[in-house]
């Protein structure tokens, strides 16, 4: 048993040290002998045991005595721990690959593969949004929201993603192109819900609402343009008017719509519904019974849409 543990540990240490590589080779030889039911004649286990005991005995004779008497038991214990660690590591790797987090979907706990937590960052709704939400008390779902009032791309696809995003949210801006490419690749539907997580962006919900109300056929061209370029320009009305023009949308009509008190009412109602989903920040993406909070890698969405082997399709 000791050979197996040593082989694994020394193989890892061998990445950094040639002497450990040599020991790892000896351990491997020992392992191969053991698995083929032959005695380990290399003396590796004896050598390592002696070295370990030699170190321990100089610090504590009692500990050395205990180690000597229980060496094999301890080897088994460490093997069990190692096995558990390996299982957890493989699980973490799998979860990271499929959900973007080692600890499961949308977990913000530390993940060694994503140490900065980039896959779970959101622009939070907590303080600045118009309609405050109380996320911890809600389960994320779209049950209380009338989705037909929001712009939908490929409405007849029967397979729909729902994206709550904010033009001004850098994480939304990171995610939007990914979602768009998935929509194009897998020919699925996409419902876009703008939610103003940043105070200066309140008006953008009205803007999106008005474009969709006035010229729904131009909405997606306009939406794509809003997520392109430097987000700092979004605070410039001239720039926005330019984007409207570029998308073929009548800017005057849109601005008039924005100024209309009825729009204010309609959008506020929409935002109340959006808040009822329990989401905590943007981007939040719904797909069937799955929710993705934060900017996930492309593969995470693709796996959700088409399974683990999405790349074969």
């Amino acid at each position: 048993m000791f050979c197996i543990i040593s082989f694994i540990v020394l193989s890892i240490l061998g990445i950094f040290s040639a002497s450990n590589r040599e020991l790892a080779r000896e351990a491997l030889d020992c392992v191969l002998r053991r698995v083929t039911l032959r005695p380990c004649t290399t003396g590796f286990d004896e050598k390592m045991k002696a070295r370990i005991l030699g170190v321990v005995i100089t610090r504590s004779e009692g500990a050395a005595r205990f180690l000597n008497r229980n060496f094999e038991r301890l080897a088994w214990l460490f093997f069990g721990l190692l096995l558990a660690s390996v299982i957890f590591a493989v699980r973490g790797l799998f979860l990271f690959y499929t959900t973007g987090s080692c600890n499961g979907a949308n977990s913000t706990e530390f993940c060694v593969f994503d140490p900065t937590g980039a896959n779970n960052q959101v622009s939070t709704t907590s303080q600045v949004c118009t309609i405050p939400v109380t996320p911890a008390q809600m389960t994320l779902n779209l049950k209380k929201i009338d989705l037909t009032q929001f712009p939908t791309l490929n409405p007849g696809s029967g397979d729909n993603l729902f994206m709550i995003a904010c033009y001004h949210c850098e994480f939304s801006r990171k995610t939007y192109p990914i979602i768009r490419s998935l929509v194009d690749r897998f020919h699925i539907g996409l419902t876009f819900i703008h939610y103003p997580v940043k105070e200066p962006t309140d008006s953008f919900s009205k803007l999106a609402y008005c474009v969709n109300q006035l010229q729904p056929d131009k909405f997606w061209s306009f939406n794509d343009l809003m997520f392109e370029g430097d987000k700092a320009n979004l605070d410039d009305p001239t720039y926005i008017n330019g984007l409207l023009g570029k998308a073929g949308v009548d800017a005057k009509k849109v601005n008039a719509c924005i100024a209309d008190p009825a729009t204010e009412t309609a959008v506020k109602k929409q935002m109340e519904q959006v808040a009822s989903t329990g989401f905590t920040g943007t981007p939040t993406i719904f797909y069937k019974d799955q929710v993705f909070v934060g900017p996930k890698p492309y593969r995470v969405y693709a796996i959700a849409l088409r399974g683990f082997f999405y790349w074969l399709r």
Partner: protein, 403 residues
């Protein structure tokens, strides 16, 4: 002599102040070297890196002179009649192999060895048993490891061609009564080859007084460079032997179908020699002579007595060989019941930098016959101190207590 002054001559000890402690108790395997030996070797590589005995230029002449002087030094060291009785070899094993393969032993000839021989004095004869059909007689040691001279004398009378014995055993440090052995062998008409690998570094050897026919030894156990050794042979016998390893520098001339061998020792020294090693070997002989065998033996005995006294009562510990440390030279070889010898050796090294040998010490036959897996051998030399011995003892006691 001042041991501390002696230790200053060995660069190995100088590093102890900067690195982790190192206590070298493995001289039976290979000794440490004084600076003079290293300097002599460097002199060859730095100043005289030429072929000896071949070219005519002054550098070659300098090398030839040094080789000749080393041969002379060796002859003086072992009291040989003439320098031509000294053959340079790589080690004891090569010396024994030269004798084994040059004597012309044939089917029915008998060779006698002891039951404690190093593989170098066992395997060459085993090969001749298979290849030439010789008989190999093994004289088992007495229970305390000493040589069974009675059985030897009884057997030798039956007609033996060669007696080949380790003069001092690397297993337990026991030295055979070489003079008696040679006398008995010669009375029976047998030649005698002594393996002096473990004897030459520790006691004076006078080959003429012993009247031994061949004597093989290694330089690396007596302060000399590794890869050096000497085979002594009586000149008259060497002249009769057919060389075993032949080629360059062994012949005076050759034609396409014949050659004329040079006289001894050249005919046994095929190919380019280890000149640097030969330079170092001379320095080693001179250094040992300067220290003197009286001091060497006194120091070894006091170390062995101290260690033996301290460890012999440890539970489960058995010292191989006679109980009297005076009979074991610088060697303390022991087993501890239930503890693997390699584990003890590795732990001593790990704990306090104490370097000892573990395993079967190239005397597998003795261990296998007794079904002993291995032993731990501490071997001291004149450069070891009582303080070092005390560290060894202290850590061994700790291991015994814990394991």
């Amino acid at each position: 002599m001042d041991i501390n002054k002696i230790r200053l001559d060995f660069p190995f000890f100088a590093q102890n102040s900067t690195k982790k402690p190192q206590i070298y108790l493995d001289t039976a395997c290979q000794s440490l070297r004084p600076q003079v030996v290293l300097d002599a070797m460097n002199r060859y590589y730095q100043l005289e890196p030429a072929c000896g005995g071949r070219s005519m230029h002054h550098l070659s002449a300098a090398v030839s002179k040094q080789v000749d002087e080393t041969r002379m030094a060796a002859a003086r060291f072992f009291h040989a009649s003439r320098k031509e009785e000294i053959i340079f070899t790589r080690n004891t094993t090569e010396g024994i192999n030269i004798v084994a393969n040059s004597l012309g032993l044939a089917a029915g000839d008998t060779v006698v060895i002891s039951g404690k021989e190093h593989n170098s004095n066992l395997i060459p004869w085993q090969m001749l048993v298979r290849r030439a059909g010789i008989n190999l007689k093994i004289i088992p040691p007495l229970p305390d490891g000493t040589f069974n001279i009675q059985e030897f004398e009884q057997f030798i009378a039956s007609g033996v061609k060669l007696v080949s014995l380790g003069m001092t055993s690397n297993l337990d440090g026991v030295t055979i009564p070489a003079a008696e052995v040679v006398k008995a062998a010669h009375r029976a008409g047998a030649l005698v080859l002594l393996d002096a690998a473990q004897a030459a570094p520790h006691r004076p050897i006078d080959v003429r007084s012993l009247d031994v026919d061949f004597l093989a030894l290694s330089g690396h156990k007596m302060l000399g460079p590794s890869g050096t050794g000497i085979l002594y042979g009586k000149y008259a016998l060497l002249e009769k032997l057919s060389p075993f390893l032949v080629g360059g520098d062994t012949v005076a001339t050759s034609t396409y179908d014949s050659c004329e061998f040079l006289p001894p020792p050249e005919k046994f020294e095929a190919g380019l020699q280890d000149y640097a090693g030969i330079y170092g070997l001379k320095a080693a002989f001179e250094y040992i002579q300067k220290v003197g065998f009286d001091f060497i033996q006194k120091q070894e005995t006091s170390l062995n007595e101290f260690i033996t006294g301290e460890i012999s009562s440890l539970p489960g510990l058995t010292i191989l060989g006679p109980a009297d440390p005076k009979l074991r030279g610088g060697i303390i070889n022991f087993t501890i019941e239930g503890i693997d010898s390699h584990r003890i050796a590795l732990m001593l090294d790990q704990m306090a930098g104490v370097m000892v040998r573990s395993g079967q010490h190239c005397v597998h036959s003795w261990f296998n016959d007794r079904q002993i897996k291995g032993s731990v051998r501490a071997s001291t030399y004149f450069y070891n101190t009582l303080e070092e011995a005390a560290v060894f003892v202290e850590n061994l006691k700790k291991i015994r207590k814990v394991l």
